[in-house]
């Protein structure tokens, strides 16, 4: 599924520059080391983390986009770094569980 389609269907807030990307699967964790060991390229990464080192973890495994749940504030330096390294950051007011449920309903597994 295209990232833009997911953004529209789930009303996600776009915090960085975006481009056309495919999404293949979802990865949920608040630990960067989990991303390093288990996330797959093209995954949508759901997390409550918003520190700028999410950019280095997402970039390492080529995450499709990071979605910060619970509307947690994403600092400006995180957004700036993400834009430099073409990492897409989105946010949602939903909890991680609610968002994951909606992603399954949208057909993402």
């Amino acid at each position: 599924m295209k990232l833009q389609e997911i953004i529209d269907r789930l009303a996600l807030n776009v915090l960085t520059v975006i481009d056309e990307r495919d999404v293949s699967g979802v990865f949920i964790s608040d630990m960067l080391s989990d991303v390093m060991s288990s996330a797959q390229p093209g995954n949508l990464w759901l997390t409550v983390q918003s520190h700028k080192n999410i950019v280095s973890a997402a970039n390492l495994v080529d995450i499709s986009a990071v979605v910060v749940t619970y509307n947690k504030k994403v600092p400006e330096d995180t957004i700036e770094l993400a834009n430099r390294f073409h990492v897409i950051i989105l946010s949602s007011p939903l909890s991680t569980f609610e968002l994951a449920t909606k992603l399954v309903e949208a057909g993402i597994k």
Partner: protein, 179 residues
């Protein structure tokens, strides 16, 4: 007959969670770090010979090995403390030169760093760094970008390095915002 060299296809195995403990001796100000498999990171200060160690920081992380699915060779990464992404903090640093050069072709530079003190511990050798780079590039083979991993020995001044470290610190204090 000449033996054919295996074109390794790596997979990550034996992923074991643990902590990286960074400590400082309040007497000589030496900094040291080590990996712990303990369920909870140690917090108490202790004496070891001439040193009086105090825990400065503990970060959740993991240990792993790489296995080639073709020839089944196993490469342990006990000397690896972590990876950090070069963000270009020092224009006189060789890593930054490489970053600038490779960024044009969408290759991101990461630094593999080892334990402290650097001159007293076994370092990650070049072959292991290359294997790790191969592993991550194989894992992201559908991607339009690549990664390059270099040794921390390439950094001009590690104490002034502001690369983005992939580490999990302070997770126990995380709270969701109130609804």
């Amino acid at each position: 007959m000449k033996e054919q060299k295996c074109i390794h296809q790596w997979t990550m195995i034996n992923v074991r969670p643990g902590f990286i403990i960074t400590e400082n001796c309040f007497k000589c100000h030496k900094t040291s770090c080590y990996f712990s498999f303990d369920e909870k990171p140690p917090l108490e200060e202790y004496r070891d010979g001439e040193h009086f160690w105090n825990v400065m920081q503990s970060a959740q992380t993991f240990r792993f090995e790489l296995e080639c699915t073709c020839c089944h060779i196993i490469v342990p990464y006990d000397e690896l403390l972590g990876l950090m992404m070069c963000t270009g903090c020092d224009e006189n640093c060789k890593v930054d030169h490489l970053r600038k050069e490779l960024e044009k072709e969408r290759t991101w530079v990461y630094v593999a760093y080892g334990f402290l003190p650097m001159n007293e511990v076994k370092r990650l050798d070049q072959e292991k760094i290359e294997n790790l780079e191969e592993y991550f590039n194989q894992r992201r083979k559908t991607s339009k970008s690549k990664i390059k991993i270099v040794s921390y020995e390439m950094i001009s001044n590690i104490e002034n390095c502001y690369a983005e470290v992939i580490k999990d610190v302070g997770l126990l204090s995380l709270k969701a915002t109130e609804q």
